[in-house]
């Protein structure tokens, strides 16, 4: 069997069973000096410039520690220096490293103990033979103790460094991850921005160069420029929004709102485009009295408009239906809005991901129509900030989509 560290050290300092015996008989002789040892030891410590950085408990803590030191001194003379003793010494090292006590203080403290106990021997044993025997055993035991403590400091320090290292590695991985997603965001958004910019600059340059001659053609190009500029503005707004949201800098102005006003101010904005595509836009809330909600007016309108725009964008024929109904979750009352379309739907495997940044259920369609790719991500964050929830259901590809979100009722909060 391999030698333990304790056995190794006993051999190294020449500590034997005989020493253990002697120390056990020495203990009772020295007991009466322990209070003075504790006193001498801790009377100096408060004068150390760093003392109260370590002993944060102040003088009360130092009073307690005087008692601890006496117990520790008693422990030196039990005559039993086994593995349990060694473990106990190790724990002291771990404790000291944890509170940030430097090893050098313990080495000097052991020096104080050693010289004090030597003085005690001088007082206690006038016969020099006896004194010498005790002094030898005592010194071997203190050597042993110092070795155990120093070893424990090393172990504790290594353990500390290891866990610190693990923490750093984790932080490093997280930083690399964050930096990568920032890079991807930048690459993606610069691409989204360039597309409409391309048309704006290209067509205005063609006109400036006098390459579009007829008024009809000039008007057509101006319309293209105008729509591209609107698209660009939308993308810029979305990018600023997501930045603000992710930095936690969106401040909501929550107030009691009539949902009717939200619907009446958003539906007309998509009505023209729906009509152009010959889609029916049906508001099923008409004629029903909707309860007031507690929300940010601008943000609620933004979410609603985003869902309506998506519905029009991804539906080629059929109907877009808007619904609203009271809905209770865990005893709290919400108004649940729904925008349902008969469009291209979302394949099941993509339904969870469409709320992520730049994830589209239909990349081809999205690219052709243009957009920031951030609409649903922003909508989800805004709804969550307002205390609601958002989700969607789709029967799958070409089976339409139903996107819903909730906002708390004004009466539900006090």
């Amino acid at each position: 069997m391999a030698e333990t560290f304790l056995q190794e050290m006993k051999r190294y300092v020449g500590f034997s069973g005989e020493d253990a015996q002697l120390l056990r008989t020495l203990g009772p002789h020295l007991e009466k000096y322990f209070p003075e040892l504790a006193e001498r030891f801790y009377s100096q410590i408060p004068h150390h410039p760093n003392a109260f950085r370590v002993f944060t408990g102040g003088h009360a803590q130092i009073a307690r520690l005087k008692q601890t030191l006496q117990n520790w001194a008693r422990g030196l003379f039990t005559g039993v220096y086994d593995e349990a003793y060694s473990t106990d010494r190790f724990q002291i090292g771990y404790r000291h490293v944890r509170i940030g006590l430097d090893q050098k203080y313990v080495i000097s403290a052991m020096g104080i103990v050693r010289s004090f106990l030597s003085e005690c021997l001088l007082l206690e044993f006038p016969a020099s033979d006896e004194r010498l025997r005790y002094a030898r055993s005592l010194n071997r035991m203190l050597d042993l103790d110092l070795n155990l403590m120093c070893e424990s400091y090393m172990h504790a320090t290594v353990d500390n460094l290891r866990s610190l290292n693990e923490q750093l590695e984790r932080a490093n991985t997280e930083l690399a991850e964050a930096s990568r997603s920032k890079d991807e965001f930048l690459a993606q958004t610069s691409h989204e921005l360039r597309t409409p910019l391309n048309s704006i600059l290209g067509f205005t340059k063609l006109m400036l160069d006098g390459l579009a001659t007829s008024p009809d053609e000039q008007r057509e190009l101006l319309e293209d420029v105008y729509h591209s500029a609107q698209l660009l503005l939308g993308i810029v707004n979305d990018i600023l929004d997501i930045g603000r949201i992710e930095a936690g800098k969106v401040s909501l102005h929550l107030e009691t709102l009539n949902p009717r006003h939200i619907l009446d101010s958003t539906l007309p904005l998509v009505a023209v485009q729906a009509a152009t595509k010959r889609l029916e836009l049906r508001d099923e809330t008409l004629g029903t009295k909707l309860p007031q909600v507690l929300a940010d007016e601008v943000r609620l309108r933004q979410v609603m408009l985003n869902l309506l725009n998506n519905a029009v964008k991804f539906t080629e024929r059929g109907t877009i239906i808007v619904r609203a109904a009271v809905h209770a979750v865990n005893g709290q009352q919400f108004l649940r809005f729904e925008v349902e379309d008969t469009g291209i739907g979302i394949p099941r495997e993509r339904q969870g991901a469409v709320f992520e940044k730049f994830v589209s259920a239909h990349p081809a369609q999205s690219r052709r129509q243009g957009g920031s790719g951030l609409g649903l991500t922003i909508s989800r964050k805004l709804v969550e900030l307002m205390g609601g929830d958002i989700g969607l259901a789709s029967g799958g590809a070409n089976r339409g989509t139903n996107v819903w979100f909730t906002v708390p009722l004004a009466a539900a909060r006090t």
Binding site: N198, L201, G202, K205, L206, L211, A364, Q365, R367
Partner: protein
């Protein structure tokens, strides 16, 4: 210039394609055909009607055998289908310099157009340089 050069434009963004077409046709000496349809472009190329193709690197509507193709793959197919050497300009919106060489090598394209491109002279000059 005697007969106009036929340019095939493979681009999924309507307005970008419109700009290419207008810039080239107004400069004179070009006729353009815009399509994302792979079968259609292959046929045009095979018949020898195309003098140069402008192919966007990221495509969204060019399906072939049930799979979406990108501009690199389309370029390779067009080059193989053409009865004689067909110059191809690859349009890239990838702003990174390293990407360009990699895409040119992978596709066998003869040059690239870095998007955004809004100077019609740049476009026309790039095309003329390759047609000779």
């Amino acid at each position: 210039m005697s007969r106009p050069a036929h340019i095939l434009i493979v681009e999924d963004n309507r307005l970008v394609a419109k700009f290419y077409r207008m810039a080239l046709e107004r400069a004179g000496g070009f006729t353009c055909h815009v399509t994302e349809n792979v079968a259609e472009m292959l046929e045009l190329v095979r018949e020898g009607h195309v003098h140069l193709a402008i192919v966007d690197v990221s495509l969204s509507g060019s399906e072939w055998e049930g799979r979406l193709l990108d501009g690199v793959e389309v370029t390779k197919m067009l080059k193989t289908a053409a009865p004689s050497r067909l110059p191809v300009l690859l349009a890239t919106a990838h702003a990174m310099a390293g990407d360009r060489e990699r895409l040119l090598a992978a596709s066998g394209a003869d040059g690239y157009l870095e998007k955004p491109i809004y100077e019609s002279e740049v476009l026309v000059a790039s095309v003329r340089k390759l047609i000779g």
